[in-house]
Symmetry: C2
Subunit: 405 residues, 2 copies
Amino acid sequence: MAVTFARGFRAGTAACGIRAFTAGASAIPREQKDDLCVIHSAYPCDTGGVFTTNKVKSASVVIDQLHLQRNQVQAVTINSGNANACTGAQGFRDALLMAKLSADRLDLDPYQVLVSSTGVIGRYLPMDAIKPGIAQACGQLSEDAGEAAARAIMTTDTVPKTAQVEVDLGGATVRVGGMCKGSGMIHPNMATMLAYITTDAAVESGLMAKLVKSVADRSFNQVTIDGDSSTNDSFLMLANGAAGNEPVRAGSVQAEQLEAGLVHVAQELARAIARDGEGATKLITVRVLDAVTDGDAREAARTVASSSLVKTAVHGGDPNWGRVVCALGYSGADLALDRLHLTVGGLVVFERGAGVDVDLAAVRRAFEQPEIEIVAKLGLGEGRAEAWGCDLSEEYVRINADYTT
Amino acid sequence: MAVTFARGFRAGTAACGIRAFTAGASAIPREQKDDLCVIHSAYPCDTGGVFTTNKVKSASVVIDQLHLQRNQVQAVTINSGNANACTGAQGFRDALLMAKLSADRLDLDPYQVLVSSTGVIGRYLPMDAIKPGIAQACGQLSEDAGEAAARAIMTTDTVPKTAQVEVDLGGATVRVGGMCKGSGMIHPNMATMLAYITTDAAVESGLMAKLVKSVADRSFNQVTIDGDSSTNDSFLMLANGAAGNEPVRAGSVQAEQLEAGLVHVAQELARAIARDGEGATKLITVRVLDAVTDGDAREAARTVASSSLVKTAVHGGDPNWGRVVCALGYSGADLALDRLHLTVGGLVVFERGAGVDVDLAAVRRAFEQPEIEIVAKLGLGEGRAEAWGCDLSEEYVRINADYTT
C-alpha cells in the first residue's frame, strides 16, 4: 500500500535516533521510532517535483532540484528529526552524502537518489547515526513497507497518512499510491510538508514535471500556501512504467485519466494533513463556488480555511460566521457582498448583504460536528475550489511552545 | 491625558450594554462597563484617516470616508461591543444615525462627526441602547475623561492604551495625545484596531491627511498588517489649532517636528497593542537592519513578529531561532543567508550562513524575559524598520474559541 502500492516500488526503514542525536544524546534511545526510510523503484522514474518557495531552502531541496534535471531518479531517502536547513556548506555535504550512501547500497548513481529531511532547523545532521540507518533500510526493501515508510517520516503527525487508487487508462490498469507528513497548522504553510506519490504508469519523459504543479494547486497548496512555506516543503511524483501500458502522452485522454488519479490521491493526503493539524479536533472543508476565476476561488477558500479566528471559532463551536465573511474580504478575491451566499454545515447564515436570522443553536450544532463544511457562493462567475483546514486548539500552542526541547 | 491631553479636546462616555443587547438581552447588565465614548473638539479639525483595506468594510468606515471629504470634523463617536459590519442597508442607516444623534447634541452638522464601531460582526447595532448613551456622553464632556474614553473602546483588551507627548515647534509648544484598542494576535491584522491621535497644533488644511499613512506605516502597520485587516480598522489624526501656533505647513521643519511627535505617540500605542496581545505574556520587538530598502525591512520585521511559530517558541522559552530564519525567508524581503547576522536577546545565534554554537541555556534565558528583542542584520543595504508582536499562549485560543458566546 501507499508508496509501495504501485508495482516495482519497495521501501525500507530504520530507527536511527536522529532527533535524540541532534539534541546531543550519545546513545540511541531505547524506544526509538523509525526515522529514516528509503523508497526504491525497480526502474528509473519519470519524476516531477515542486518545492518550497522560501528563500531559505534546506540543502536537501537544493540537491533534489539539481538531481531532478537528469530525470533518472530511482530512489528517495528521507529522514525525520532534523531538517538540515540553515546548516551552511556542511548541510550540502551531508545531503549529498545521504544520496551517495544510498546510491552505493542500491547500485545507482548519486544523481538517481533524491533526499528529504524534516525536523529541527539549524542543526547538523547526525551522519554517524544516519549512515547505518541507510544501510539497514536499503538492506530490507520490501513491498510491504509502505505503511512503515509513512510512519518513519512523521514528526508531530499523530497518524501516518497514505492513500492509493487504481486508474483505468482505457484498457491498462495502473496504480497510484502516496504518503505524506505535515500538519494543518495556524500558518499551515510553516509546517514542513513532505509528500510522495508513486505510480507504475508508463509515461513519456517529462510528463510528471508537467503535471506536478497543477496537482499540487488542487491539493497540497490548499492546505499549505505557496510563497509562505517552510524551508523543506517538497512534493514528488514518480512514474516507473512497471504497468507496461502504452506510455501516456501529454494532452491525451489517458493523461487526463492519470491526472485525475494523481489528484485523487493528492487530495486524500491533503485532507489527511488538515485533519491531523497539530492539536486539531475537527476537519474544516471550505468550498468556494461562482468566483470570477478558479484562482480567486482557491485564494478565497484557503484564506478562510487558514484564518485563525475562523479556526478558533470552529474549535469553540461558536456561530461567529462574521469571521468567515471577514476572511473572504481580505482574501484578495473579487467579492460583492450583496451577491454572497454563505452556508455553514448546510445552514444559510448570510445572503443579500446581511446576516440571516437563523437558529443560532442549529448553527452551533453544525460547528460542533467533527467535520464542518463552509460553502461560499460568490455569485460572480464560474470559478470554484476547495480548501481544507482544522480548528485551532490550546493543544496546538502546547505542542509548538516546546518543540526543540 | 490621552485624547484630551491636547487643548480644546474633551471626551464623554456611557455604559449602554451594547454587547449584551446585541446578544439578545432585554435589560442592561448590572455591572456594565462603559462601551460608548464621544470625543469633541472646540474647533473644527484638520483630519486624516486610514482605514481597513478589507473588501468587507463596516458601515462606520464607509461613512467616515465620506465625512472626511469635507474636512470639518469636530467629534468622533465610538462604540464597542458590536462592529456594525455585514449589516447591509440597516448598518448604514445606523451609522448615519449615530453621527446625526451626536451632531444634534453637539450643535454640529452630521458630516462633522465620525463614527467607529468594534465588536461582533453581523449583528445590527442596538440603537435603542445607543441613543441614550450618546445623549449621556455628550452631556458630560470633560477634559478629564481621556482615560475613561480609552476604557470605553476596549473589547478583549486587558488594559487601556494611551500615550501623549509635548512637541516644541521652535517656540510654540503643542500637545499630542492618543488612545487605541486592539490586540497583537496570531493574525494581528484580524483584530479590529481603532486608534485616535489628537493634537492642538494649528496646521494647514490637508496636512493630517498627508501625514497619516506615513505615521501608520511606522507604527500600527507594524503590528497590524495592511491588506489583511479586519472590517473596521481605523486610525484618525485630528488637529484643532487650539495651541495658537503659526499653522504648520507641509515640508517645513515644524512639520517634521510635529510628525516626529505623532510617530512617537503612534509607536507607543502600537507597542501597547503588541504587549496586550490576547493571552500574551511577552512583548517581542523585531528590528531589521541593513535591508535593501525600508519597505523590505518593514516586511521582514513584521513577518517575523507575526509568525505563529516564532510566537509559540518565545512563549515556551524555546531557543528555536531557526523559525526566525524561516520567517525571514518567506517574508518576501531580499535575503542572502551568508550575510545574515541574527541576535536574540543580545546573543548571536546565526552568522555566515549557519547557526552559531551558542550556550543554549543563555538563549533560553533571553527568551524567558518579559520583553525580547530579535535583531536581524541583513547586510544588504541601509533599510531599517521595527515591528512588534507578542507570544502565543494557550490563553489566546481560549479567548477566541468562545468570543460571541
